[in-house]
């Protein structure tokens, strides 16, 4: 792969693109890492309710003075939004498992072409635990994966079949990388958008999976805003 974007640009491009997926009123849980950045790119006229699995509904931005009594799942303080509320963990996961979340955005180690997700465990390494991830991907109506297209060593992360231990089977609906956007419907992956730096051939080369190509295949949304900024 000749093309390589800076880590900063990669992260923000993915977050910006995912932010376009939401509709007014959506209840969304953002995982740690790139997903956290998504909240920075929500259009002003779209009101998203951010849920954190430790019990906040309506989590807002970081406060000026940190208060550890209001923290997100990553441990970072936030301000509760007007009309927000706090619930205990059983109800929090009831909302998650019961289909009351419109979407969850999470990172991935691997995603398979039929929507299997591996994002919690690398065999041989110390296992930190799955936390709320397994519940989130099983329960949220829409699972959106935010991930670099390949590993740092250039290995495909979008694969025919996951080799790493699964978080869940057949749950992923959308994959957004710095170079492409794929949907997965009924076990069938489709390339929807492609970044300006790459060709369809490039995508094929760095994706170890079968996918169809949308017609028309459009340029990845949001990248033009990026150019404007810089």
């Amino acid at each position: 792969m000749p093309i390589e974007l800076s880590e900063e640009r990669t992260r923000h491009r993915i977050a910006r693109r995912i932010a376009k997926e939401f509709h007014d009123g959506d209840v969304v849980n953002l995982g740690i890492g790139i997903p956290t950045l998504v909240s920075d790119y929500i259009p002003e006229d779209v009101r998203i309710i951010f849920q954190t699995e430790n019990g906040a509904i309506g989590a807002g931005p970081a406060p000026e003075v940190p208060d550890l009594r209001f923290i997100g799942a990553g441990g970072r303080p936030f301000v509760i939004m007007p009309g927000g509320c706090f619930v205990a963990s059983d109800l929090s996961f009831g909302l998650i498992r019961g289909g009351h979340l419109d979407a969850t955005v999470l990172g991935a180690l691997q995603v398979s072409q039929d929507g299997d997700l591996a994002n919690w465990m690398v065999p041989g390494k110390m296992v930190p635990g799955m936390g709320g991830a397994m519940d989130l991907v099983v329960g949220a109506r829409r699972v959106i994966i935010a991930t670099t297209h390949t590993t740092k060593r250039g290995e495909p992360k979008i694969v025919r079949k996951c080799t790493l231990p699964l978080t869940a089977k057949g749950v992923v609906k959308l994959i957004v990388t710095e170079f492409a956007v794929f949907s997965i419907e009924k076990g069938q992956m489709k390339l929807l958008e492609i970044a300006p730096e790459v060709t369809l051939e490039d995508i094929k080369a760095m994706t170890d999976a079968d996918f169809t190509v949308a017609e028309p295949l459009i340029s990845m949304q949001g990248v033009e805003e990026e150019e404007e900024e810089e």
């Binding site: 509320c85 009831g94 498992r97 019961g98 009351h100």
Partner: protein, 229 residues
């Protein structure tokens, strides 16, 4: 798909239109307490029939959703106790009404299972009784448990105390009962409340039902019981 952030405050008559013939409807309440009287009255007036009613009890024949039964709008009742409404028993005996009875703790847990995305409930309640009939018995650590399945509805009419425009709810006294649980287990949830307060007025620590579960709000009317509960 997402519910509205700012919940519409509608009339009871308007809310009753969400209930169409043949639908299943959960109605909160225990005996006189916590029934969404104004909503129920509107549904009685609308005359919508062929309903499956999921409610702890069927109240009294001239009170609350007891009237739905008495007026013949209900084809099936799923409840824990129906002894106070003579019409429920009468229609059941005459074969005009299907009746499924649950132990009350199982009933609420089955509703919660539906709302919380669980596959069912494993309860010791009812083991060795007629309640066991037709149910899977699962032995865990040497003890028998009945497997009861989730209970979901198309619409839920619930009763709360205060709401803000984002649909967050608090409850009052024994009116609480099944209402917070039913709010999790229906496709469309309407809450009847004493008052709708501005966003930010409810303490986020005191909210019992998060607004993300609610579709619409109705302010209680001057129905005899609505005024007293």
């Amino acid at each position: 798909m997402a519910k509205k952030v700012i919940k519409p405050v509608v009339s009871a008559a308007e809310a009753a239109k969400y209930v169409r013939p043949g639908m299943s409807i959960m109605i909160g309440g225990f005996n006189y307490g916590g029934i969404p009287y104004t909503l129920v009255e509107a549904l009685v007036e609308a005359g919508t029939g062929d309903l499956t009613l999921i409610s702890n009890d069927t109240a009294y024949e001239d009170v609350g959703h007891g009237k739905l039964v008495a007026k013949g709008q209900v084809k099936k009742v799923i409840a824990s106790h129906v002894g106070l409404n003579k019409k429920t028993g009468q229609f059941f005996m005459e074969g005009k009404l299907e009746l499924v009875l649950y132990p009350q703790g199982t009933f609420v847990e089955c509703i919660r299972a539906a709302g919380f995305g669980l596959g069912g409930v494993l309860t010791p309640t009812g083991v060795g009784t007629v309640v066991e009939e037709g149910k899977q018995v699962i032995k865990i650590n040497g003890q028998d448990y009945l497997l009861d399945l989730p209970l979901r509805a198309d619409v839920a009419f619930i009763r709360a105390y205060k709401a803000d425009r984002m649909g967050n709810l608090t409850y009052f006294g024994t009116n609480r009962n099944f209402n917070p649980i039913m709010a999790t287990a229906a496709d469309y949830v309407v809450a009847e409340v004493d008052s709708v307060v501005p966003i930010g007025e409810l303490d986020p620590n005191e909210v019992v039902t998060p607004g993300i579960l609610i579709d619409a709000l109705v302010v209680k009317g001057d129905n005899y019981y609505a005024n007293r509960t």
